[in-house]
Subunit: 312 residues, 2 copies
């Protein structure tokens, strides 16, 4: 019902990071692509098979040192329902390997429809009287533009199934400020208002480490706002995109953490997935290159957290 | 690149409505459910097969009188990747029958990822050098919380593929006002600001009927705001949910139309899908019950538009 399971994995691995699984064919070694095309031709089926093999290699190489993965739904939908099947299989594979899975779908809708999304990604679907997990992630990113009744159905599922959500607050993209930075008559910005909603929505699903099951997405590309929101939303766990390929570094993500070094999980997608291309290593070594980058990222961020804690 | 194709279908059928395809097993006649379970057991595969058969019946009964369908992605995701395959098959079936298809996904993300959603739902995916439609809808609903660079990738695809998007402006749910009705320092509400964004985003993809390819979702449950936005966003076509089961009637949707009776398409989902249950007719007659309700809705709304035009 909260992020306790995720926090315990972070503490266990001593690693507050999440590996984004946003696979494109362009990132995948040619031996995997060639194998899939040999089997299925130049089809969506082949693309979906290549994505799955690539993801499994990454998960195998990361599961003992990285607490969580974050598959981005868009990159699976791009390859049709076959790609979406790979999303479901990726979620199941990562969970079987003990990882916490955050499906990045940024879903949103009115109450009755949001129930369907909550069921799809976090709950269990009633299929002719049998309860079945459709996608079965541990957490889902959502968009709060529709207000409380677009969020409430998720809270019930989070409580019943021990899951969590991350609400978009201040996103990492260049134009996020067009709406999110605008000030309301109240004197508060839109993102600040959304952060307050998160604190409020989380009240009924508080965990034992001081954080609720309602987290927030706050981008590493806006470190000042990250620090501001850490103070203003003390019970809200942050999912922080924008590290690595988008430009954020360890100094930028530092303000996301509380004085105990908790409170945030930092995502890197392309940085980890494409490490083999950056390293220019043998493509068969792609998963170990991802592991090397994940360790480098962990060490960099943990060193920075260590300084924060040392300075009280 | 605009909504011209949709507008021409509305004019051709003399019907400014769209049938929402938000299927749940509870809405589906038992003979369809029983047939699916007999073939596939109590599985997601059976659910997906039942959804598809049900949808095809509705599409067959509606395609000559209703210009468009709007499948809601959540209800397909609820039935796993098998349900998502039914979404793809439903989109293809409706398009083959000449209907305009609006996938209601309310997708949103940062630029690079939004490109993937745009490709998935409106564009063509590059699969080993071959271009393939992953889902192939005519239009997609999206959420503009992330600002311009979350929308731009869609505009390129809309222009290249003759597609459109509907951005959430003022949603039909009870708590939509929590964020959307708040006033900014500018004196404008959040929904009004989002409406201005729509006008701006649409400038480069204007159609020949005065409306761009960037539409807006504005709920029938807020008729005053509907009228306000019709004036303030004169080039933005409205997708209007909230008619029927959510409480909106013909008087409520009337302000969405311009003086020519254009400018809006009114959605009914449960009202049409569940007409057979409301009528208590033979379940084998479910599709004809949907047709009867669609005709009733069309006539009710067109009568109201006729009054508006008569009164200048």
């Amino acid at each position: 019902m909260s992020f306790d399971r995720m926090i315990e994995k972070i503490v266990e691995t001593q690693n507050p990071t999440v590996a984004g699984l946003d696979p494109k064919l362009a990132y995948i070694p040619s031996y995997i692509l060639d194998g899939a095309v040999a089997k299925y031709g130049k089809t969506l089926e082949a693309a979906a098979a290549a994505l799955l093999e690539y993801n499994k290699g990454l998960i195998d190489a990361l599961c003992d040192i990285v607490p969580a993965v974050k598959p981005q739904a868009a990159y699976y939908e791009m390859y049709g329902w076959q790609g979406v099947r790979t999303l479901a299989e990726t979620v199941a594979y990562a969970r079987a390997k003990g990882m916490f899975v955050i499906t990045d779908g940024k879903r949103n809708d009115i109450g009755t429809t949001m129930e369907a999304y909550a069921t799809a990604h976090l709950g269990k679907t009633d299929v002719f009287g049998e309860k079945t997990e459709a996608f079965g992630a541990d957490a889902l990113t959502v968009n709060g533009y529709l207000g409380t009744d677009g969020i409430k159905p998720l809270l019930g599922v989070c409580e019943a199934e021990d899951k969590g959500i991350f609400v978009l607050v201040k996103t990492s993209n260049p134009s996020s400020g067009e709406l999110q930075d605008q000030k309301m008559e109240s004197g508060k910005t839109v993102y600040e208002t959304m952060g307050e909603f998160c604190e409020h929505w989380g009240e009924t699903i508080m965990g034992k480490y001081g954080y609720s099951g309602v987290g927030a997405v706050v981008g590493a590309t806006y470190p000042a706002q990250l620090g501001e929101m850490r103070e203003k939303a003390p019970h809200t766990f942050f999912l922080v995109p924008g590290y690595g390929a988008q430009g954020g570094g360890a100094d930028d993500v530092a303000p996301a953490f509380d004085k105990n070094g908790l409170g945030a999980i930092i995502n890197s997608s392309r940085g980890i997935m494409c490490a083999w291309q950056k390293e220019k290593c043998d493509e068969h070594d792609y998963a170990q290159a991802a592991r090397r980058e994940a360790i480098r990222m962990r060490d960099e961020i943990c060193a920075r957290i260590g300084e924060i804690r040392a300075n009280g």
